[in-house]
Symmetry: C2
Subunit: 138 residues, 2 copies
DNA sequence: AATTAAAAGCAACAATGTTGCAAAAATCTG
DNA sequence: CAGATTTTTGCAACATTGTTGCTTTTAATT
């Protein structure tokens, strides 16, 4: 499974480094999404803050992770499914934020609905975030 | 129209102060949504940063404005329609972010769709943010 | 106009995010 | 595998953003 991580990095033309392995591992062993702060904490004192910022940025660019918008100024990141090509991220699934445990989950099976926009507006991407109580907390 | 602003403040049991009037006015004369930074800039050097923070917080609590989630750590705020009671904000409309002018708009006529969640999940609130090109830029 | 209650401003601080550069590590090549 | 090259990391310094306590000022109340 450690080799899975290496493979994933190589597949994206990224050199295999300790910090990238560690951060990817955090995402893999975590069901929900992670904010930058979570990653710093979970990674312990091992990595510089700057490294975490740059690693997340790189992962987003490569389409390994994607961002989830929030209303509290703490962007969440979650693993992308394999069909995300470099630069061209397309997650058509709904995100769920639990008001109890405050975790964010990707509901991979729930597809974002079609929205009929007023004339003049063109749609390129759609984000749906549902808030409520998750299955673990209910 | 200046008295409209005063009325709105009084209706929400808020004392009428220069900063609240000014910030409310900014929202009224602006079609799109505003981030905290926008407000600081537009208000000039007139108000302390802390005052802006506290005013926005108060307005959200009173249901005068609502937040719009973003993926860039800069929450946007927009005026609520009159049916938002104190504490109980319910905007069932879709938000639109333009990739050209980078403005955020409330599409008041576009209602958020129903989402069928997996069993175990309960829905309390739903946010839909569409990205694309707005009518002014297309 | 005086009293009371609320808000603004200030200062100091904490947290978060950014940039340039030198050191270290990973990849490449013979 | 060892050396050259490229990439990434860590550090330092800084910029921006957000928070808290307290005093002064302003608005509402009587």
């Amino acid at each position: 499974m450690n080799s899975d991580i290496k493979e994933l990095l190589k597949k994206n033309q990224l050199s295999v480094t300790a910090s990238r392995e560690k951060i990817l591992q955090l995402f893999l062993e975590q069901e929900g999404a992670l904010a930058h702060g979570d990653i710093e904490k979970k990674a312990g004192e091992k990595f510089d803050r700057v490294t975490v910022y740059r690693t997340l940025q790189t992962f987003v660019e490569k389409g390994i992770i994607h961002t989830i918008p929030t209303s509290d100024n703490s962007i969440r990141y979650a693993l992308c499914k394999d069909d995300c090509a470099s630069g061209h991220h397309h997650d058509h699934h709904v995100h769920f934020v639990c008001n109890e445990c405050n975790n964010t989950f990707c509901l991979d099976d729930v597809v974002t609905p079609n929205i009929k926009l007023p004339s003049g507006y063109s749609q390129e991407h759609i984000e749906v975030v549902v808030k409520g109580v998750c299955k673990h907390c209910s």
